[in-house]
């Protein structure tokens, strides 16, 4: 819990957040009056069936979508669109195919106005951090899925966000790669001391990484539930309490 003691910024407060989408023949309420506090430096996982609004919630936290009602405050400041204290890691790596790994990782920094030479230096450091040093000059099409996602993670880390928003970041990867990258994300969270908000459909991933798990119900009549993950780190997937918590979360999900 040392990370929480040191990181003072990156605190998220969600108040009365609602969102609905126009649908043929009416409106679909995705979120209704959600309240949520995320501590600075915390890792929060958001799980829920498809259609439960977990991705919509993350996109509103990212500022890529605006709520119908309610607001998100980050360190006390209301969110209006995207902001420099946040970075998003998407399910797909979303690398620009005409740029090398180095160019892609530097892209986020350059988009934020850092001069290219400085962006390159910092991009190199981050590429090193995610273990892609040998692939700096590679183009995205030459990368495996896992390597491409590493580059996507590096791009987000390079801008040194206070809050890292991850939208099913490992969902498209094979099981082995996913496990390796889960360990990597755990390490990144520990070392970088960022607030991490992770949307996932993988309960094991949620328990492995998160301090708390937000379970979004499918039926809008029920309230979202927060589940504490009171397990010591590093966590062991086969440990008894881990498995028990997984069972409990599964029950929570199927209840809704």
């Amino acid at each position: 819990m040392g990370a929480q003691a040191i990181a003072r910024r990156g605190e998220v407060a969600v108040r009365g957040l609602s969102k609905s989408f126009a649908l043929a023949g009416g409106r679909l309420n995705v979120l209704r009056g959600l309240d949520l506090d995320i501590r600075a430096g915390e890792c929060l996982a958001i799980v829920g069936a498809s259609g439960s609004g977990k991705t919509t919630l993350l996109r509103m936290l990212a500022g890529l979508e605006s709520p119908d009602a309610g607001e998100v405050r980050i360190d006390g400041v209301p969110v209006r669109g995207v902001g420099t204290e946040r970075a998003v890691i998407f399910q797909e790596p979303r690398l620009l195919p005409w740029l090398t790994v180095l160019g892609n990782v530097a892209f986020g920094l350059e988009a934020r106005g850092l001069p290219p030479p400085e962006a390159e230096v910092r991009a190199r450091e981050t590429i090193h951090l995610v273990g892609l040093a040998d692939f700096e000059a590679a183009f995205p099409r030459q990368l495996s899925g896992g390597m491409a996602q590493r580059a996507g993670i590096a791009r987000a880390l390079a801008v040194r966000p206070e809050i890292l928003l991850l939208d099913e970041p490992l969902g498209a990867l094979d099981a082995m790669t996913r496990m390796t990258l889960q360990e990597e994300l755990a390490r990144i969270w520990r070392d970088e001391r960022v607030t991490m908000i992770l949307v996932t459909h993988d309960l094991e991933e949620a328990i492995l990484l998160a301090d708390r798990v937000l379970v979004l119900p499918r039926s809008k009549g029920e309230r979202p539930r927060l589940v504490d993950v009171a397990l010591a780190r590093p966590r062991d997937r086969s440990e008894q309490n881990f498995v028990a918590l997984r069972r409990r979360l599964m029950a929570e999900l199927s209840l809704h």
Partner: protein, 277 residues
């Protein structure tokens, strides 16, 4: 190539000499499969012409055509035609590129502009440029302007439509990614939309280059007294068949050269794309 490898028993590695033979054989086979039909075609032409299977006055032997080409180039007659043809098609093509790409980039991004311009563009595009050539002659006279304009007209649409298509097809997820890093509209355009559209734009450029040559020849056949297209027609009237073939050959080479230049440029600009051919 792989067949040779498979045929070689793995247990007994072949000596150097047969391997070399295999390799030369493979290289020969590759050349033959690539150029064989062309060579056979030229051979057939030559034999048919010399043996009198076809009238040598219509299909002269290759040597006669080469001779006419050589005389035309050394004497300067064909060179003048080539120069004026290049000038007409080059000017028209450059204007079409200069207008089509910027307009396409704009239209691809501004949905209302695109929607407003689309019906009239479709109408213009579907109206054959050659059908309009008499109109252009009435408006612009029989001189260079009408010829350049009719080529410009026909070449504009492939470039314009390809550019619009390229911009519209840019992966929205990439644009959103850039936006999530706070990229401005200008940055998104310069660093995402523009590079992503380049392959599509090149499809339009190559199509337009072909169209430019087609229209060039037609326009020169209809209303010109110089140019390669004129020379093809003129040589035929005067029954200078070898000269006619020489002009046709030059036109074909011009098309090949234009395409080769564009392919080379595309390879340079789209190295990142696996399907840059």
């Amino acid at each position: 190539m792989s067949l040779h490898v498979l045929d070689t028993p793995a247990t007994a590695p072949p000596s150097q000499v047969p391997a070399l033979l295999h390799r030369t054989g493979a290289a020969g086979a590759a050349i033959l499969s690539r150029w064989g039909l062309l060579l056979a075609f030229l051979l057939l032409w030559q034999v048919a012409s010399v043996q009198g299977w076809v009238s040598a006055s219509v299909l002269p032997p290759l040597g006669t055509i080469a001779g006419a080409l050589w005389r035309g180039i050394v004497g300067g007659a064909l060179l003048d035609d080539l120069a004026i043809s290049l000038q007409r098609s080059g000017l028209a093509f450059a204007s079409a590129v200069g207008l089509g790409i910027p307009l396409g980039l704009l239209m691809g991004q501004l949905r209302p502009v695109e929607r407003a311009l689309d019906p009239i563009l479709q109408l213009f595009r579907q109206t054959s440029a050659l059908a309009l050539y008499p109109v252009f002659i009435l408006l612009l006279g029989l001189g260079e302007a009408s010829k350049v304009f009719v080529i410009f007209w026909a070449t504009l649409f492939p470039i314009l439509l390809a550019t619009i298509g390229g911009v519209k097809e840019v992966d929205a997820k990439l644009i959103e990614m850039a936006r999530s890093y706070g990229a401005t509209r200008a940055t998104v355009f310069r660093r995402v939309i523009l590079p992503a559209s380049v392959p599509q734009i090149f499809v339009g450029l190559r199509l337009s280059a072909t169209t430019a040559l087609l229209l060039l020849i037609a326009a020169e056949m209809i209303g010109a007294n110089r140019g390669l297209g004129f020379q093809v027609m003129n040589a035929q009237y005067n029954f200078q068949v070898p000269l006619m073939w020489a002009a046709i050959l030059l036109l074909a080479l011009l098309g090949l050269a234009a395409n080769a230049v564009l392919v080379l440029l595309q390879r340079r600009l789209c190295r990142w794309s696996a399907d840059a051919r």
